[in-house]
Symmetry: C2
Subunit: 140 residues, 2 copies
């Protein structure tokens, strides 16, 4: 992810934007809430307001640099958009997120949209469950 990507999106190259990108790229977790990003910035010593974090993430989403996930009922989570679409498995115990892509499901979705007269613009698929970590399996 480069300064160029910001330019292309018509966004000025500002310290908050560069730092948010940096967090998204270098964080151990690929999926971060706005709050997560905000805290990571604080840990880096960057005093960037939470409102700015929300704004920047929303702009990045608009620019296609970032995707926003809406986990059931909860808050939004962001991930870098590397161009390949995928869906998510979500561990209801440890909140771990695993990505997957399934062409069969994709095709069926397109077929369903079409047969109902829908022009599909987007879709979201979340599989919720308990993952295979020992701590989580115990909870089953």
């Amino acid at each position: 992810m480069e300064r160029q990507d910001l330019r292309k999106a018509g966004l000025k190259i500002t310290l908050p934007r560069l730092k948010v990108l940096e967090i998204l790229e270098n964080s151990k977790q690929r999926h971060l809430s706005a709050e997560d990003v905000y805290k990571a910035l604080l840990e880096m010593g960057e005093e960037i307001g939470l409102a700015t974090v929300y704004r920047v993430l929303t702009q990045f989403e608009g620019a296609g640099l970032v995707s926003r996930l809406n986990i059931d009922g909860g808050h939004a989570v962001f991930e870098l958009d590397d161009g390949d679409h995928h869906d998510h498995l979500f561990c209801v115990n440890c909140n771990r997120i695993i990505e997957f892509y399934d062409e069969v499901i994709e095709q069926r979705q397109r077929a369903i949209a079409e047969s109902n007269g829908f022009e599909m613009t987007d879709h979201s698929l979340y599989i919720y469950g308990v993952c295979n970590r020992e701590e989580c399996k115990k909870e089953r």
Copy 2:
């Protein structure tokens, strides 16, 4: 849906609960927000507090009488749970909701959960798009 269903769920049979059930069963639209239910109650002349509506719907969900949908970013929507699982097509223009069920997708989801070591507890699939109403097609 009967008084018995409330009893089984360990819920006392109260006027608010009966009236909320009545709305869910008799409403023209199958999918209602808490606010929708609240307004429908007012129209019936029942002065039931919004907090009660939220509480009752949440209890009904816990009892398996009702399902809660989380449309992207927006508010929750409730529908009677008649026992058959289905997913939803959502018109981003007129908010119409269409239900569908696809066994191929269901199977693939189970397979994906399994191959990732997940014990699936639930899943949610929303297809967003523009439906085939004239007013909506114009927006395309």
